[in-house]
């Protein structure tokens, strides 16, 4: 063999990785920095201040954004909860119920929202709601969100389920637990990390959505993304950067939380 070389290393890959992270973070960091700009111009730097954060909460546009944020939050919590319950049941069926009719098709159906392009889902939902005479508003947004949140909630839950052997429930049943008790007292606690990360994922995905919401929201109802979009269309203002930075912070906290929960689940698995 020739001189010992590290087969895992390729020259330049580290540089590309750094470049990749730079591209991913540069716009976010720049906006976060400029949100602390004292100047009302978005181009000139006028010193550090919290003016625009104060503006977000007390300024002239504050009521609009607060209402939108509340709508977003309510929809995200409801949609994520519903999607998580539905996805948990489906995950139990897919991993525990053995073979049954329509299983493969069912799996495809659960993943369908991931495969249909977002703009097509948006058009289809709008057309459907208008055809059946459903008034667009908060309810239509909620329904549409539940649909596309299901696969995102399903993935971590099913992944978690697959790593839980069913001997625990069998043992519980051998000790005369009813199926209900076996589920509630044995399987559910084991599934919890998966369910939590499924919920968080669905929650973020719901908060993130712009396109589908924009189609089915109806007049006058806004969520945070549609309100921001409407505002950005008239030019980027400093208060938008402050809102963006706040949302950025919320996302980072949620992802970190989801990551930590996932890790505790893993550690437990390894300890077993």
């Amino acid at each position: 063999m020739a001189a010992k070389v590290d087969l895992r290393r390729f020259p330049g890959f580290l540089t590309v990785t750094i470049l990749c992270l730079f591209v991913l973070y540069a716009p976010l960091i720049v906006v976060a920095v400029y949100s602390f700009n004292a100047s009302s111009s978005i181009t000139n730097w006028g010193g550090v201040s919290l003016t625009w954060y104060a503006d977000v909460f007390t300024g002239p546009e504050a009521p609009k954004f607060q209402k939108a944020a509340l709508n977003s939050l309510v929809i995200a919590v409801c949609a994520a909860t519903a999607a998580t319950v539905i996805a948990t049941l489906a995950a139990v069926a897919m991993t525990r119920a053995g073979r049954f009719k329509g299983k493969t098709l069912g799996f495809a159906l659960i993943n369908l929202p991931l495969m249909v392009p977002e703009v097509v889902t948006a058009v289809a939902s709008l057309v459907f709601f208008s055809a059946i005479g459903f008034t667009t508003g908060l309810m239509t947004i909620l329904i549409a969100h539940i649909v596309f949140c299901i696969p995102f909630a399903y993935l971590p839950i099913a992944a978690r389920m697959q790593s839980i052997p069913d001997m625990f429930e069998q043992a519980a049943m051998d000790l005369y637990a009813t199926p209900r008790e076996a589920f509630k007292l044995v399987l559910l606690p084991l599934m919890t990390p998966g369910i939590l990360s499924g919920f968080l994922l669905a929650f973020i995905i719901s908060l993130d959505d712009f396109l589908i919401t924009n189609f089915v929201k109806g007049a006058g109802v806004e969520t945070l993304p549609t309100a921001i979009f409407g505002s950005v269309k008239q030019g980027i203002k400093p208060n938008i950067m402050a809102i963006s930075t706040l949302m950025l912070a919320v996302s980072v906290v949620f992802v970190s939380l989801s990551w930590l929960i996932g890790r505790t689940g893993q550690d437990k698995k390894q300890a077993r």
């Binding site: 063999m1 087969l7 390729f10 020259p11 330049g12 590309v16 990749c20 992270l21 591209v23 991913l24 540069a26 716009p27 720049v30 906006v31 181009t43 319950v85 539905i86 049941l89 489906a90 069926a93 897919m94 525990r96 119920a97 329509g102 299983k103 493969t104 069912g106 799996f107 159906l109 659960i110 369908l112 392009p117 977002e118 703009v119 097509v120 058009v123 289809a124 939902s125 709008l126 057309v127 459907f128 055809a131 539940i146 649909v147 299901i150 389920m161 429930e169 069998q170 589920f183 973020i204 908060l207 993130d208 712009f210 189609f215 979009f229 950005v232 980027i236 963006s244 950025l248 949620f254």
Partner: protein
């Protein structure tokens, strides 16, 4: 994904447990798509909406040009085909850019030791969880003519006048690349993580150079991850709305904006929007079918 342990507790309850998900997705996604297909064959109502009368006008408008008054001999209408073609082209270039940056990144991360690996992975995934609209707006803020990027380069003296990136095809590609890069990194990472390095050792023992090993040994082995990544980037890029709308101008019109416009206000044309959506859906389903068939072939082999 299917399979896993079968337990006597849930034996036979499969259908019952699946029912909620099937109902919700069936009623609120499958039925709407079917309804959209129906709408694409209806007559347009001028204030938005439809008249329930069968018509092929939407598809006719998409593919054929019959002159201003609709009485000339039909010729192929290139406007909409051109928009679709440009979207495919833009999405393709964005996918290529993601691959060129994403592969080395995924490889680099997957070859770290397990502890640092998860930190790198975490760093790459965080931006994905930040609101897509906010990321796109941030990109617009950064690259606009009087934005920080141009100011910085002007101050350094690298350029004499602003780059003029905004409202170009390049800006749209950059936006798409930025939106979906993690989708490329994650599947390739998963494939590289499973890669058996004794293959590289064998290649090295046979005097293969580093890059030859990459080309002839590594790439074929991790190809499924690469293909999955390309699909995960290409499909959402094709129907993207925010990046072309915010970063592109009138010249960079893509499918997403074309469809959105048909449902906005009174100027819209619902059947035409539904028809364009059907055509987009057909293209995406074809891509996914080809992918699924190739994957099955790979598995049986």
């Amino acid at each position: 994904m299917a399979g896993g342990a079968s337990s006597r507790i849930y034996e036979g309850a499969g259908l019952k447990l699946m029912l909620p998900s099937w109902l919700v997705i069936g009623i609120f996604l499958l039925a709407p798509v079917a309804m959209m297909a129906v709408y694409s064959f209806l007559t347009k109502e001028f204030r938005g909406g439809v008249i329930w009368e069968f018509s092929l006008a939407a598809y006719d408008q998409f593919f054929f040009d019959r002159g201003l008054f609709g009485d000339e001999a039909p010729t192929i209408e290139w406007t909409y085909i051109g928009i679709f073609w440009r979207s495919i082209w833009q999405a393709g270039l964005a996918t290529l850019a993601c691959l060129l940056i994403g592969f080395p990144t995924a490889w680099f991360i997957a070859t770290r030791d397990p502890k640092t690996r998860s930190i790198w992975l975490f760093l790459v995934t965080i931006p994905y969880w930040v609101n897509l609209l906010i990321r796109t707006v941030s990109m617009k803020f950064l690259i606009r003519d009087t934005g920080p990027l141009n100011e910085f380069l002007l101050a350094l003296g690298v350029i004499d006048e602003p780059l003029g990136l905004i409202n170009t095809n390049f800006a749209v590609q950059l936006g798409l690349f930025y939106s979906y890069l993690p989708f490329m990194v994650l599947p390739i990472y998963a494939a590289v993580e499973r890669y058996d390095f004794s293959l590289s050792e064998a290649a090295a023992d046979l005097y293969s150079g580093t890059w030859t090993t990459l080309r002839l040994v590594i790439l074929p082995v991790v190809k499924p991850g690469i293909v999955a990544g390309c699909i995960l980037v290409f499909v959402p890029s094709l129907g993207a709305f925010l990046a072309p709308d915010l970063l592109g101008g009138a010249k960079t019109f893509m499918i997403g904006s074309l469809i959105e416009e048909q449902f906005k206000g009174s100027a819209g044309n619902w059947p035409f929007g539904a028809a364009a959506s059907m055509i987009l859906l057909t293209i995406v389903m074809c891509v996914l079918l080809v992918y699924a068939r190739n994957q099955n072939k790979g598995e049986t082999r």
